[in-house]
Symmetry: C2
Subunit: 808 residues, 2 copies
């Protein structure tokens, strides 16, 4: 039977409101005022885009009033402002606490306008005062050098979601709603943004919002119709597909569609009232009964024309409801008199003279629709989360360490004690600490956290869940196989002042490389905004690392995330490679206490040799880099060679190389340096953690060969240390994309990070060993071959090599 394609129902955004929810809750007076408020928003959005003078249109519009370079995006603004002011109404009507997030790209004018009108903007930026001069400054600074951008950048009061890169508005919203039971996070998702993968899967946030403990997210899908030049997918598929999609992702969709302001105001007001009632009812049901469940939370599909309230056409082209209203709709107003007149008519159609008095003050009658104080969206303290931040109650990390009596002789799973530590951090901070992981907290050996709080699960339970799935309706651990969603939730959580920890497989940290970039940029700008209180750091544990992905193979071997991290501002980036349990605990404690950073910790989860007692670890991690005296043979002398390492496996291999060398060359003066804090390698002029040249030289010498065994791609060390005097003698080994299915030692050998290669590197570079070492080199090479042969025969590493321990 052939499928009969349904003829798609026409889905115009124009006309009187068509809405799921009936009702006209606004009185005539309310309707008039809310429309006036909206006209004021739209007037401001247009003013920002075009005007550098004559902000109240007191005189006829002239070319010299127009900005020289027209930048900005008008298209999404009217719809965003429409959402904002209807949320204002609901805040007042229902005494709500609302954070607003604008997902659509370049939507700032639609947010800045109401933020200014409610008074929040002028309080933060007194130069943009609530008068004519301030209004002019507010217009001029928009998309202007030294001013503000066209996204909801950190400079935007009330924003914790910039929207520069699309896809994260729902996961940010969810993170903000966690553990804020009274909060409603209204998140507008653009229909362009909705085509991205991260947004598409983040409709699943409703599976992670506990109606007792968490606040609510109210998504508003804004079917604006167009991206830069194209229609959006969601704006053109049949109505029943949209409805089915949202029911399928577990939401109850309410449609508000049309262009006629009067009926659209009534429909939006009625729909938001309905949504708020449903949210509160679900929360009440859960909170009264004590039974958490997943409600079919409400969401809104708002279909309006792109560039809503633009002229219908301009220059012979459709404008309102067309992609042509996406950016600056009339680019030639400075030169074309007719077009300038059209712009003036358009501006005057909002009736600025009714909205602002002749001093530029917003009409008190209309302004009275704004919420007051911290209930204003632009002044909501959750959107300046550092203000609400509570310091973590920290257990003493020293209590979680392992005993190390003789360095390099006992093994432990590096991440496991960290899991116990995180368990107790969780226990002491049950309202404001979360653990995130893409189905990998157990795999990554952090499962001790489940002893105090399990994984949040609101779906059906099976009897067998009692045996090891570690699920609970009130769990505080969030696991979903979407690094994007987790990172977004985590960012939303810290930006609202709370704390957390995220662990992931090293290779798949790249999935959120782009999100790291954006969050680092956000923090970088925040550092220049005195009014933004510092927020807790994002703490990312990169584990299941390359050197123990021999069994998962080539696709799982990628230590390149660090190469992204080092490109971002030194003020916000930190990288740590603790070599063992105690150093990992020390680093984790430090990171959890820090603020406004993106901390990256690299530590493998499997069994590894332990080197540092807790006291030694604290000293070593505090310095970030240091000589390991017990592994060195240069006491009191200038060394012949420096062996350096960063990372757990590289440290083991480097120490094993030292052992080989000591056996062969008892007189060799060898210095062993371990690096935990990677930015120590950079000059102090480049990174606040950087060593001074003097300190660097005192560790690495100025003229002796340095063999550096590095966890990641070897070139990263050169990139950090190229300015150092001894850089020409720096020889780095690391991962070089040589991998397949193999054993750990074979993988190291293939990439020349193994003990034999490192020892041979020393022989090659210490002049007096060049000839004297020929025999040893041959021996090492033979042993290397023997190791590979053994692994190919037995499928495991040669026991004596794999079981190597520090013998001194």
């Amino acid at each position: 039977m052939p499928p009969t394609p349904a003829a798609p129902a026409s889905i115009s955004a124009f006309g009187p409101a068509r809405a799921t929810v009936a009702g006209t809750p606004l009185s005539a007076d309310e309707a008039r005022k809310i429309d006036a408020y909206w006209r004021a928003c739209n007037y401001l959005a247009l003013g920002m885009t075009y005007l550098k003078a004559n902000p109240l249109l007191k005189e006829p519009l002239k070319p010299e009033h127009i900005k020289d370079r027209l930048l900005g995006h008008w298209g999404a603004s009217p719809g965003l402002a429409f959402c904002y002011i209807h949320l204002n109404r609901a805040i007042k009507a229902h005494d709500l606490d609302v954070v607003f997030m604008a997902g659509p790209g370049h939507g700032a004018p639609g947010v800045l306008g109401p933020c200014y009108l409610e008074g929040s903007y002028s309080e933060v930026y007194p130069d943009c005062s609530e008068d004519e001069a301030g209004l002019l400054q507010f217009f001029r600074q928009f998309s202007f050098p030294g001013g503000i951008g066209s996204h909801c950048t950190p400079e935007t009061p009330g924003s914790i979601h910039e929207g520069g890169e699309l896809g994260y508005v729902l996961s940010h919203a969810c993170g903000a709603a966690f553990d804020n039971p009274d909060l409603i996070v209204a998140a507008v998702a653009g229909d362009g943004e909705s085509e991205t993968g991260p947004l598409a899967t983040s409709w699943h946030i409703n599976k992670f919002l506990n109606p007792i403990r968490d606040g609510a997210v109210l998504p508003i899908l804004h079917l604006n119709g167009y991206k830069i030049n194209n229609p959006t997918i969601w704006a053109r598929v049949p109505h029943d597909e949209i409805e089915a999609f949202f029911r399928g992702t577990g939401w109850t969709p309410y449609f508000v569609e049309g262009s006629d302001p009067a009926t659209m105001h009534q429909a939006m007001a009625a729909t938001i009232d309905k949504c708020v009632a449903e949210i509160r009812a679900a929360q009440k049901q859960a909170r009264t009964s004590g039974q958490a469940f997943r409600p079919r939370w409400p969401m809104i599909v708002l279909r309006t024309p792109k560039g809503w309230t633009s002229p219908g056409e301009s220059g012979g082209h459709k404008l309102e409801g067309s992609w042509r209203s996406h950016q600056v709709p009339m680019a030639d107003v400075k030169k074309d008199k007719g077009r300038l007149k059209q712009l003036e008519d358009w501006l005057r159609a909002y009736k600025p003279e009714e909205l602002f008095d002749d001093k530029g003050r917003f009409s008190p009658e209309i302004k009275a629709l704004s919420p007051v104080g911290t209930r204003r969206i632009g002044s909501n303290p959750h959107a300046n989360g550092g203000l609400l931040k509570k310091a973590l109650l920290m257990p003493d990390f020293r209590q979680y360490g392992v005993k190390v009596e003789k360095p390099g002789t006992t093994e432990a799973e590096n991440c496991k004690p960290l899991g116990v530590f995180l368990r107790d951090v969780m226990k002491a901070n049950m309202q404001h600490f979360r653990v995130f992981g893409p189905d990998e907290n157990t795999s990554n050996k952090l499962q001790a956290v489940y002893e105090v709080s399990k994984k949040l699960w609101l779906e059906e339970y099976f009897p067998e869940d009692a045996d090891g799935t570690e699920l609970a309706v009130d769990g505080r651990v969030i696991e979903m196989l979407s690094e994007h969603t987790l990172e977004g939730m985590f960012e939303g959580y810290v930006l609202t002042g709370r704390h957390g920890f995220f662990s992931t497989y090293e290779a798949f940290a790249h999935v959120i490389g782009s999100m790291f970039n954006q969050h680092a940029k956000w923090l970088t700008i925040c550092n220049h905004l005195s009014w933004r209180a510092k927020v807790p750091s994002v703490n990312l544990l990169i584990t299941s690392t390359v050197w123990r992905q021999d069994h998962n193979g080539f696709t799982h071997q990628d230590p390149g995330f660090l190469d992204l991290v080092v490109n971002k501002s030194a003020a916000v980036t930190r990288i740590y490679l603790p070599p063992d349990v105690n150093s990992l605990l020390s680093v984790a404690d430090h990171c959890l206490r820090s603020e406004n950073y993106f901390n990256v910790i690299v530590s493998d989860k499997q069994n590894h040799l332990q080197y540092l007692s807790m006291d030694d670890a604290i000293v070593h991690c505090t310095k970030g880099v240091g000589i390991w005296a017990k592994a060195s043979t240069d006491q009191g002398h200038e060394p012949d060679v420096v062996m350096a390492s960063a990372g757990d496996i590289p440290t083991k291999e480097a120490l094993a190389a030292v052992d080989l060398l000591r056996q062969e060359f008892p007189d060799l003066k060898l210095r062993f340096v371990n690096v935990v804090d990677l930015f120590k390698l950079q000059p102090d002029t480049e990174h606040p953690h950087g060593l001074s040249d003097k300190d660097f030289d005192s560790l690495f010498t100025t003229d002796k060969p340095v063999i550096f065994a590095f966890h990641g791609y070897p070139w990263l060390i050169h990139r950090l240390a190229y300015r150092r005097k001894n850089h020409p003698n720096l020889h780095v080994r690391g991962y070089k994309e040589k991998g397949n299915i193999n054993t750990p030692l074979e993988l190291a050998i293939q990439n020349q990070l193994d003990r034999f290669t490192l020892a041979m590197d020393v022989i090659d570079r210490v002049p007096r060993l060049k000839i004297a070492g020929a025999h040893a080199k041959e021996k090492f090479r033979n042993e290397q071959i023997a190791c590979v042969n053994y692994s190919h025969e037995h499928g495991v590493d040669k026991p004596d090599a794999a079981g190597w321990k520090w013998p001194y």
Copy 2:
């Protein structure tokens, strides 16, 4: 009204089949045989996981038959093999051409088994012959050093989708189906994978498959129930939500659920028959009528227990239908006799003695169910796409250039002529060339392609679409605001032997950083497989670059994608930074003709100065790096300083710096070097494009200062060139995360890539200018300040600076 949470219907995967499609199409004999085939697959999957000897269980199972290191993932395998062999049946019954993709992670055993049984595997790997010795080798090599991995790696015949990183199976499938009208790409998506963002949005592929011209994708969502330790979201939500979700994304879902093999075989056979009939009917309707439309394509939801056919329990824990069957279900068989016995019973339950003769040959009666020749999934030539590849018919790129009579004096939009070139490449190769872009082909100035083929659009059309949206039901340009989906489609397209071009905003190339990593790794392995024919390269144009994102702001400024590219194998990575139109055309022509590379071209789309005539551009791009004599003043002499550049804007600023210096210091011997092919900077021992040290030294000298104006993060140049003799004198300027809303020149100044800084850098580094240049330095610094002040006052760059041209 409070929402009433629907009590979720119990959704067990166990019991007799429950299916949307009724019918028992298999005769008793067919049913018996297909079940035998499946038992053979499952036996092989288990054998791969455990056995290193006794492959036919001719003797009782002993510890020494068990591998020393048990690696692999059993859980997804039975379901994958179930799909594979039912597709085999459909291939034979309906004469289908099927490519199979296994999305679930670590699913290889479920694919390798049937691939071996049908004979494909042994043809590619004669050591894994169809006898006992071959079977043993087939078992031993799995997840074994020097052997093969647990994903469908490039070593897997019939695979073009590894599944190492999750999320891309549907976009890969869609790319493979493009322009292969008779092909059906059966794509199994795991329920874990389905939580990823890239997979979630890729259900939209049905909006891009033209039923006349393209083949079909048959998605099979495998509700296996569990990830590593967790239930999956989709496996536990109510049935009606799953159904609604797929109807909402435009598919017709058919459910096949249960665990009872006999009824499940009937249900799966009936369902696949139904799906094939619907696919063919939709295609027929479209092809007969000539009217392309979007059918509600069928898809299958297959719910079976994780580790289907495992023992129900082991060691007191549920095994079949539990996360405990995800990896190696019984890890202690080598030591625990009882467990070894349980494994033996489990293996024998598949009745290997009925399936294989005592020489290890698969029963001919059962093997006869396999398709033959290239209809076998493991031998389908589309999955070794290089075999089917047609060379592109290439128009002469020289015809698309701009005339450059005097270098550095005229401007052109660099990407626009490329669009015209791509238009004609498209025109000459309408069956096997595609252009991809996330709603940005017009924004990126490539819109000329629409003259021969528009954007594919199968949804509703509005009257205004006639005015500029450039949509068509038969368009060959694919635009969707998901870099993930586009990159996945493109990869699927090239892996099946076709060609294409992808352009994207520079900052958001990071969205697919992880996909780049994985594709580069795939290609790297393919280079070691002689049986894999080379496939066309992925060609990625990175445009809307950092230096012209002054107006979009900090979030849009990120040139770091290159830092990822350089980490991957030199055999498959290429980076080009053509400075102008003609060099861009030359590079693009080269890339389009290349094979097995990931080519990255960096070129901004806006108006830029033109430097090279077409002849000069060809010479320059062929060399990849060279001295620009007209910009140099060192003719016949050793220079005082080398000014180098890579990228369009850096080249302009570097030339303007040369101009400043020439005015101030007419005697200065300055050499200007431009780099197009970035890997020229690396030693030839590291990259096949690398310059020899001799050639490098002859360009960059061994002891003179080199000021390098680079497009990206400056440290990348050090990372590439640190081994060069003159590296200590190399001083690189590039992007340093200093950005906000500004003007182009101000952005350059903030990051010290501007002409004034570069000129001052020269003064600082040429000894004889250190004192003589003090006055000039002050002048440059003042001019720099004047430029910033101008832009802050006017919002545009100072006209004389912005309009700078090469004056000589």
